[in-house]
């Protein structure tokens, strides 16, 4: 038995040695390492290389495996978070702040060239938070800087329109026109019962909510407005998009489409393959469209080599892309959801000062050039938002897309935030409602209204509990009341 255990120990020791040997280590060359959690989009490589070239004493690398906020927060609590938190979206910026992870950038930004004034107005709201300062005042502070920004618009596949003989979408499209066009584009696969070609896809819920004049919160952020008629209208409309008009792939229909291509699969590939007529998005979609076009050109060449005498009309098509703005309601202005993949500095990490250089880099011209040429949405610094800069000479014929992207900036809108409850909590509660609406074909208006009423009540209860339980939030609430805010729904005495 002794020998058995000695043998076991020897095997384990050998395995440990192997494990030790194959553990990758960073080369220690005196440079200060910085880790940036972000997606492994092919554009990242030149962006990182350029930064490391411009700041030779720093060594930036990306971590694509730990980008979601749960992982970042849990890992930061364990003392191993990233230096640069790379996907600070609207839904998580408040949570990160509550977790004490965000470094306040306000005092550095202006001097280092990445101040708020470099950003469009909607994005300024995106990266700032109202916070309670030590002296008891409420101030707006800056906590992140975008790596890129997006105001969504619509891409359309010209080939599909021409084949179906439908005129291209107008510049000023209404929702009725949008639905009509999308329905005309849809081609059913009778055998499988799923559309072979979807008319449209990727509609954003927030945009639909804005289009109905609704919001998640009242102006002072003290009440949920999810139970108000405008919001119910918006959700009923969303349900109709899926199940009455059939212009948005349901989860079920999505499951029916297996797709090709790893990164950015799904809608991008359906669109490139000609299975989706119109798609909501930003210029970042062009990264995969360009790749698809390269592929299609190659396929076409091969086809011509194989069929030299054939009619060119029969050859495999090459994707031709047009662009237009998000539809609007006839009686309302156009809004589109503004979005920024922002970067924040982890307040708990030692290299905070060095990390500031990265934000400086994000506002710089070389970085903007990479974004513009690589078509990774729009660069954060609005100084570089110009059509000439967007055009990549290698990719002629994209002017319409770039122009639409620039035009969309003026329609951009971000969600209201409350100081009493995080948007992450609201999202979490709302998501249950949304998923149920999308999963149930036979939901009536009454059912949707009942769901929303419950959701609003849960948010309101959350607000009341936060105020009651957290003295800091209570101070904020008192200050808000002093400013004339609408009082909360619940009576604070009833809350335990």
């Amino acid at each position: 038995m002794r020998y058995f255990w000695i043998g076991v120990a020897a095997v384990l020791a050998a395995m440990s040695l192997v494990a030790y040997r194959i553990t990758p280590r960073l080369a220690d060359d005196g440079r200060i390492p910085l880790v940036w959690t972000t997606d492994p989009n092919p554009q990242r490589e030149p962006q990182v290389a350029m930064f490391n070239e411009m700041y030779p004493h720093l060594q930036l690398r990306i971590d694509p495996d730990n980008t979601d906020s749960t992982r970042v927060t849990v890992q930061s609590s364990a003392g191993m978070g990233p230096d640069l938190i790379g996907r600070v979206y609207d839904a998580v910026i408040q949570s990160y702040h509550e977790a004490g992870l965000l470094m306040d950038l306000t005092d550095y930004a202006e001097d280092m060239g990445f101040g708020l004034d470099t950003l469009p107005e909607d994005i300024q709201q995106f990266v700032s938070l109202d916070v309670l300062m030590e002296d008891g005042t409420i101030q707006s502070r800056m906590f992140a800087y975008p790596a890129n920004m997006a105001q969504h618009f619509i891409f359309y596949n010209k080939n599909l329109f021409d084949r179906a003989g439908i005129p291209h979408p107008p510049d000023d499209m209404t929702w009725d026109e949008y639905i009509d066009i999308a329905q005309k584009l849809t081609v059913m696969d009778e055998v499988r019962g799923v559309p072979r070609v979807f008319g449209a896809g990727g509609a954003i819920v927030d945009t639909i909510i804005y289009a109905h004049g609704a919001e998640y919160l009242n102006e002072s952020g003290t009440r949920s407005t999810m139970d108000r008629p405008a919001f119910i209208d918006a959700m009923v409309f969303l349900h109709k998009l899926y199940y009455e008009y059939g212009v948005e792939p349901t989860p079920l229909q999505q499951a029916g489409i297996a797709s090709q291509g790893g990164w950015g699969a799904g809608y991008n590939n359906w669109f490139s393959e000609g299975r989706l007529g119109m798609i909501w998005g930003e210029r970042w979609r062009m990264i995969s469209f360009r790749r698809a076009i390269t592929e299609q050109k190659r396929a076409r060449e091969i086809w011509f080599a194989q069929n030299p005498d054939a009619d060119p009309d029969d050859a495999p098509e090459i994707l031709r892309i047009g662009a237009t703005q998000i539809p609007r309601m006839p009686d309302r202005p156009r809004y589109t959801t503004a979005h920024a993949r922002s970067v924040a500095i982890n307040d708990a990490n030692p290299h905070r000062k060095e990390a500031l250089y990265f934000l400086q880099y994000l506002a710089s011209e070389p970085y903007a050039k990479l974004i513009n040429q690589g078509s990774d949405s729009k660069p954060p610094n609005k100084k570089f938002h110009e059509l000439d800069l967007f055009i990549n000479p290698d990719w002629p014929g994209e002017e319409a897309v770039h122009a639409a992207s620039l035009e969309a900036v003026q329609y951009g809108r971000t969600r209201r935030r409350s100081m009493l409850v995080t948007n992450a909590t609201i999202n979490h509660i709302f998501e249950q409602v949304r998923s149920r609406i999308i999963a149930s074909p036979d939901m009536t208006r009454e059912m949707i209204a009942a769901e929303l009423e419950r959701a609003a009540d849960r948010v309101n209860l959350h607000i009341a509990r936060n105020i009651k339980r957290n003295p800091r939030v209570h101070t904020i609430y008192d200050a808000l009341l002093a400013q004339g805010a609408e009082p909360i729904v619940y009576n604070l005495e009833d809350i335990k």
Partner: protein, 292 residues
């Protein structure tokens, strides 16, 4: 009244054949998912949507893509997974846990079953009581403890918390209790100390119990999902379940690649099964007691 033997034989023969038929068909049904998986793993992406099993166009490329031997033809990039690394990690962690757990449980079981000391039964009762507590209750504080020990995102963090088990102690204690007291009394008269008795008398006799415990510990850790999911940050520490989960998140729409990767991840498990099948199917006594 006695039936003629020939008629009885016919009746029994028919019964037996029917039984064979039934169980064989059942086995066929049970294996359907695996057949479907293997077939899908060899389909081209265009064929995945079809209702048939057998691939019309046999494409072994999927396996080569997930083994990173060739790039994905659609993106011209190598897929982001390292199957062999995951399998190594899983084996590494599970082996360490198994060895440590069997060893520490064995020692504790010896103290609980062969040595008489005051308070023994009370301590043992405490062990037993904690077995009733769901593992979920423990996950959150265990994570907090690992944070304070700075073991998050390390092999040690995966291994150490699972290296001690009340269940293993309980099971081996029951086993050791069944070994007649006379063995160690004889050894004691020969002047053997506890260590010697433990190593030379009890351990060899407790081997079947140890093997059973080892199999279950190994399997449980090879499969475990929640703890590594919380503990692991770096890609190079991923075990098979975590790696597959990440792969599913990234390439979930490419069914043929997903099935190829799944197939490869199942192969070591199936091999292990072939080695262990005798122990598993014939002699396992789960109740932790003694074999009858």
């Amino acid at each position: 009244m006695k039936k003629p033997p020939s008629k009885d034989l016919v009746r029994r023969g028919t019964g037996l054949s029917l039984k064979f038929l039934f169980v064989s068909v059942l086995c066929g049904i049970m294996f359907l998912p695996f057949i479907w998986m293997i077939c899908t793993a060899f389909k081209s992406s265009a064929e995945v949507e079809g209702a048939h099993f057998w691939p019309k166009l046999f494409s072994p490329d999927n396996i080569r893509i997930v083994l990173q031997m060739i790039p994905d033809p659609f993106t011209h990039e190598y897929v982001n997974l390292s199957l062999l690394r995951w399998i190594f990690n899983s084996f590494f962690v599970a082996s360490w846990v198994t060895a440590l757990q069997v060893f520490t449980s064995c020692m504790a079981a010896y103290a609980f079953s062969r040595i008489r000391w005051r308070g023994r039964d009370q301590v043992f009762l405490l062990y037993l009581a904690t077995m009733m507590i769901p593992a979920l209750v423990l996950t959150i504080p265990r994570f907090q403890i690992m944070v304070s020990l700075r073991l998050v995102n390390t092999y040690q963090g995966l291994i150490i918390p699972s290296a001690f088990s009340a269940f293993g102690t309980f099971m081996l204690r029951q086993f050791m209790l069944s070994i007649p007291q006379s063995y160690d009394e004889a050894a004691e008269i020969d002047g053997a100390g506890h260590l010697q008795i433990f190593l030379d008398v009890i351990m060899p006799l407790a081997r079947p119990g140890m093997i059973t415990l080892a199999i279950f510990t190994f399997l449980g850790n090879y499969r475990s999902l929640m703890w590594p999911l919380i503990m692991i940050k770096d890609a190079h520490l991923r075990t098979v379940p975590i790696g597959l989960l990440a792969f599913q998140g990234e390439y979930g729409t490419q069914v043929e690649l997903l099935m190829s990767a799944t197939l490869i991840c199942l192969i070591p498990l199936i091999m292990l099964f072939i080695i262990l099948q005798k122990q598993l199917v014939r002699g396992i006594n789960l109740s932790g007691g003694v074999k009858g």
